[in-house]
Symmetry: C3
Subunit: 208 residues, 3 copies
């Protein structure tokens, strides 16, 4: 079942890349490139940083199938898919939770300390989206003050996993629970429009 959710998460990441490519007027190649960068980027960054090469994404077929399926679906049903953006965001949130937890656990397995392991877990979850936005010349969603909480629930979840591991409190059940919590907080943030503060909002709050 976890494998099914992971495949759906990869597909959601790929779809978010393909949709951005279509919206920017890129050609077929651009749409496939953005879909692949988004789907594989986070995991590839994690594996290169851990020295586990070639990256797992180059050895598992869903990572190659997803960008192609996402590009085909986007090219064939472009305006209709655009209307399903909310579905894509929900799947993307599921992927965020899973990849973040899986990345943290893999980093801990490689002997990293609490903070570095959590940072690598967050990188796994958000790295693909950063690469997508950089290549498409968009302000990365993750740094923008206009976007709902994304990295913060991921970082909190990664710290819980890494902290439990180092306190010898980690149990296999913790992974899915934390992934589900990241997923849930991201969904509520999307619905309620929760945003992280910027230097400007903090200054205004201080002055006013």
């Amino acid at each position: 079942m976890l494998a099914v959710i992971e495949a759906l998460g990869v597909l959601a990441f790929a779809l978010s890349g393909a949709l951005l490519g279509a919206r920017r007027g890129f050609d077929v190649v651009g749409i496939v490139v953005l879909a692949a960068l988004t789907a594989m980027g986070g995991g590839v960054l994690r594996d290169v940083l851990l020295g586990d090469t070639p990256p797992a994404a180059f050895r598992e077929w869903p990572y190659f199938a997803a960008p192609i399926v996402a590009a085909a679906v986007t090219l064939l049903f472009h305006p209709a898919i655009e209307r399903q953006l909310r579905t894509v965001l929900v799947l993307d949130a599921a992927g965020l939770g899973l990849f973040c937890v899986a990345g943290t656990v893999k980093a801990l397995d490689h002997g990293l300390d609490v903070l570095p392991a959590a940072a690598l877990g967050v990188t796994t979850g958000v790295g693909g989206g950063i690469l997508r936005d950089v290549v498409a010349r968009e302000t990365p969603v993750i740094v923008s003050a206009d976007s709902e909480l994304y990295a913060i629930p991921a970082a909190a979840g990664a710290l819980v996993v890494a902290g439990a591991w180092h306190l010898d409190l980690y149990a296999p059940v913790l992974g899915p629970v934390v992934a589900a919590a990241i997923f849930a907080v991201r969904l509520v943030a999307l619905r309620r429009g929760w945003r992280a503060p910027s230097a400007q909002t903090l200054a205004r709050r201080r002055d006013g």
Copy 2:
């Protein structure tokens, strides 16, 4: 002879980077940085992803000589070089074919499957150009719907090489033949203005 073509390909990649830097008004450092990123980027990405470090480009002198020569030529003869853009594009197409095939073969040698090996081969051919465009804040040529076929002949060629390898049909002569075919298709695409479709052109074709 292959070594001469490869050196010319590296030089063409470096020139395309140096020219873009000059056109954007960058200083000497910027021109060298863009030339080096374009010349070395694809091969470095390939070697880092395969875990073959330090990358070959850090061990072979043409990769270091090319950016310096390209920057010097560009700075000394800037407007004249600009008029030779077509020559640069022809050399660049030769480099694309060679690097794409060489990257695919190296990935197969490292035990990668058909699709991942082909993807890594294409990355070797186009990765430097993507890095060049990202640092120069241009929409990457490879994703833009305004640019002639570039990645598609490269991907087709890489798939032929990787497929032949896995079917035990690979012979050393296949490499140069496929590289020449990629080169030829790219040249014809440039002359005829062949472009890949975007989501917009496909939608128009469906509706109209």
Copy 3:
């Protein structure tokens, strides 16, 4: 003492990232991400290219503390910190010298030749700033014709270190001396407004 200067250099890099994030109106996450990219980017690129993974920055706490401290200081004292920009530039110049020399020595230790080792040293010094500017969608300071000499003193210093090493003239005292020289040249360039020429300024000088 070198460790103190290095920690201050990391903090200066992190502050330059955090300040850019605040100026661009990014949220807390964006400010931390830019601070971390700037502080860790150069060293991480060097270690990934040398195959020394996980990168040293993932094993040493100042690299994790600096982005968090920089983000907190920036969020709490944003307009005041902005007025200390000159202090940040001075610390950044110290970091540039140190990281450039340390990166060159590490690359020589891994057996790289003169030019590749110097290139990797410069990458260590300037890589974080390039990543910072790419993610923040700024023209990288290092390529822009509007910015004072930055990479040129770094490259000259790295070549001196790498050359001395290969001529068996390297002594441990050379490192700090070269780092101090890079620091000094950068400070004078800032004060006097020294800039590297672009293709345009060279063409004007030829014609005029």
